[in-house]
């Protein structure tokens, strides 16, 4: 494109030059794509970033077409979705692509985040890329939450009711805040209308902006890789490019093209042959129109929210004692550790504040706090990991074990979040809630004493 491949067509070349003189077209293409040097050793886990982008485009395109037929009105919404499924040409396909896409968006993002945990992609100098990624994750959760109300089924309605009621748990302002969010005393037409506005324009705008910023930050520092070695340390003096780097285009564009095809194959398998996915992607109860007078016996969010929902439900008065003990231990450690007086004072103050809040706030509020913390705790990753190496390949057994326990906790909490709680299941959820947080809270400790191997100078 930029290197004279358009010479055959003089007219096209002239147009290109006209644009390029007024807009940094070829400069952008070069800096972001054709001369963006990426490590040559990307493995399986590196597909999910580009795949998440593919799903984003798919959601926007299918979403636009759904908006043409959907009615954001409590009296019409449910029937309008079925109208799309039955009467609109290919409406069923567009709707299934969108509903399957929602789940696959989270699958891609979770695997993409897991990749970062494997190879230390969140570490210096990529902290900002990671933070923007966490912001994308939060925005995506908001997008999914708002979108889930729109079909106006029983799960849509009661799921939204449960989540908005969480705001009501906040002391003093909670009740008013919940009414302000809903625009009504219960989830109703006003709520549906504003959630529609958030889902189709407000949140997607933020999401797109964050994705662009995420990519720009990544391209500023350069990509990490499975070895966690900085390729920019080995520049070829002849070319000025990293010795272990290859241009993103064409190498990774063709590789991601292949990955996208395999991904779409799996995607199509579900969208065409199991769009409900056994009740995980489209819940059975959501085929019953929303009824504010009939509370379903069992309310569960869609699978991608269930780990955090489990944390919420696991927070009982007993778990508050566990937090109190953890806070007390933290304060004890602050007292005995060496180091500056101000840091010690701050840590003691933080511990005391947690203890005071434990005394003041009931378990319900703490459930909301812990649920929020279970998502927001990712923010601190770049500063929690004290290991001298980035990649799990050169980290010791402690990090590997910690990560394995974390993944297990995430899956177990996810599973428990779909079940009707019993005493035993709540107890299991409490154990795994503690394990979930231990991955983060103990990370400064176990990563600094873990036995690591010396990473190679160059990619292996």
């Amino acid at each position: 494109m930029a290197d004279g491949t358009v010479t055959k067509n003089a007219w096209a070349r002239q147009l290109f030059e006209w644009v390029d003189a007024r807009f940094p077209l070829s400069a952008l293409w070069k800096s972001q794509v054709s001369e963006y040097y990426a490590p040559k050793n990307f493995n399986f886990w590196y597909y999910f970033g580009s795949l998440a982008l593919v799903v984003l485009v798919l959601q926007i395109v299918t979403g636009i077409f759904l908006t043409m037929h959907y009615k954001p009105d409590a009296a019409l919404a449910f029937a309008s979705v079925e109208y799309i499924m039955r009467e609109v040409s290919w409406g069923w396909l567009i709707r299934y692509l969108h509903s399957t896409g929602a789940s696959f968006f989270f699958i891609c993002v979770y695997l993409h985040m897991f990749r970062a945990l494997l190879y230390g992609s969140f570490r210096k100098p990529r902290e900002l890329t990671w933070l923007l990624g966490v912001a994308i994750f939060l925005t995506l959760m908001a997008e999914a939450f708002f979108g889930y109300l729109l079909p106006w089924g029983q799960m849509s309605f009661w799921g939204a009711q449960v989540i908005v009621n969480l705001f009501a748990a906040i002391p003093i302002v909670g009740e008013d805040l919940a009414i302000w969010v809903r625009g009504d005393y219960v989830v109703g037409d006003a709520t549906l209308n504003r959630f529609f506005a958030f889902h189709v324009i407000a949140v997607p705008l933020v999401l797109l902006g964050l994705v662009v910023a995420h990519l720009m930050a990544l391209h500023e520092t350069g990509s990490n890789n499975p070895d966690g070695v900085e390729i920019k340390k080995n520049i070829d003096p002849a070319t000025g490019h990293p010795v272990d780097g290859i241009p993103f285009h064409p190498y990774y564009t063709v590789k991601d093209l292949f990955g996208t095809m395999v991904f779409l194959l799996v995607f199509a398998l579900i969208a065409f042959f199991a769009p409900e996915f056994g009740g995980y992607f489209l819940e059975h109860n959501n085929f019953i129109p929303a009824d504010p007078l009939k509370t379903p016996p069992h309310i569960a969010p869609v699978w991608y929210f269930t780990p955090y929902y489990s944390v919420l439900r696991a927070t009982t008065d007993e778990l508050k004692w566990v937090i109190a003990i953890a806070a007390a231990l933290f304060m004890l450690w602050a007292l005995v550790r060496r180091g500056g007086g101000f840091a010690r004072l701050a840590m003691l103050g933080a511990g005391a504040a947690v203890l005071a809040l434990l005394y003041l706030l009931e378990a319900k509020v703490w459930g909301v706090i812990l649920m929020g913390a279970s998502v927001l705790v990712f923010v601190f990753m770049p500063w929690l990991d004290r290991s001298p190496v980035k990649s799990i390949r050169y980290k010791g057994w402690m990090y590997k074990l910690a990560l394995a326990i974390f993944v297990l906790s995430f899956l177990v909490l996810g599973y428990l979040g779909m079940q009707t709680p019993t005493n035993l299941l709540t107890r299991i959820a409490q154990v795994f809630t503690v394990l979930y947080f231990e991955f983060f809270l103990l990370m400064p400790w176990y990563t600094s004493i873990d036995k690591t191997e010396t990473p190679p100078e160059r990619l292996t």
Binding site: F44, R86, V254, K255, A268, A300, V407, M418
Partner: protein, 278 residues
């Protein structure tokens, strides 16, 4: 280049195989296994009140069954229940012409292009039955075919309810046994199960009971024929829940073939470009 078809190791230089890929691959395998377990366990499905449901598989291509189900549906269900998200002539999807639909399945002045609505208002229905009969357009997707099939076959006489009928799957349901002339009247007898003269205890420590139906008066159909009637009806309800389901699978096959072809081509495209990367 080695290990064809394993994208995760394509770009690896020789000599590194199997050392550092292993943890990553193991994680992938573990994650997949966990995912499979989750699917096998299934979510907490529609509440079934503890009654074991009979397992059926619906057959959206069985035109004769669907047409028989459609007949039962308009004769018995479409008086109190609507299917307002369905047009009458959507039944062209089960092999009927507009004329056949108009002559055999519409008993009112409605046109074939109109939705399957009912004259009874929700307010009247609430007064007469205690609850508004739900619209049945997507009932099969909400309840599941197994639930409907079991529900429609487990009505029994119960003098204590307003309708004189009760149901094993949906206790104290407001709906009377509409198909009773076909099935006949039955009573529920609960019997304790015993083995070697001793009662078998359930999870709650009490003797476990099984429900057994006793035929009080014969219906116009044999048990076997009635089961078939209900199966056809449920089959129709399942089809009505998603009229495009056969088309979906038909299109899906071609999409998969096309994508498999593209995956194949792009794999070799990728290999050609990466020939010189070591």
């Amino acid at each position: 280049m080695s290990a064809q078809g394993r994208p995760e190791s394509e770009s690896r230089a020789p000599g590194r195989e199997g050392t550092s890929t292993r943890p990553a691959v193991r994680f992938a395998a573990a994650a997949l296994a966990a995912g499979a377990l989750l699917v096998a366990a299934g979510p907490a499905a529609a509440a079934s009140e503890g009654v074991k449901l009979d397992d059926i598989s619906t057959e959206p291509a069985d035109i004769a069954s669907l047409q028989s189900g459609a007949r039962t549906f308009v004769n018995f269900c479409l008086n109190c229940h609507s299917a307002s998200l369905m047009r009458y002539n959507a039944m062209r999807g089960i092999g009927l012409t507009d004329d056949q639909i108009r002559d055999n399945l519409i008993f009112t002045a409605e046109k074939v292009g109109m939705p399957m609505a009912i004259a009874m208002t929700p307010r009247d229905a609430k007064e007469w039955f205690g609850a508004t009969p739900p619209d049945l357009s997507v009932i099969a997707r909400a309840r599941g075919a197994d639930w409907l099939y079991t529900y429609l076959r487990t009505f029994y006489r119960d003098a204590s309810t307003p309708t004189g009928w009760n149901n094993l799957v949906y206790p104290n349901v407001g709906m009377p046994h509409v198909l009773w002339r076909l099935q006949g009247e039955r009573a529920l007898r609960e019997e304790e199960v015993s083995k070697d003269g001793r009662p078998i205890l359930g999870e709650d420590g009490k003797p476990r009971k099984v429900a057994r139906f006793e035929q009080l008066s014969p219906g116009s159909q044999s048990t076997l024929a009635y089961d078939q009637t209900v199966y056809d009806l449920v089959n129709f309800l399942a089809w009505m829940g998603e009229p495009h389901q056969l088309e979906r699978k038909r299109v899906g096959i071609w999409v998969l073939i096309g994508l498999a072809l593209l995956a194949f081509l792009t794999y070799f495209l990728k290999r050609a470009y990466w020939k010189n990367v070591h």
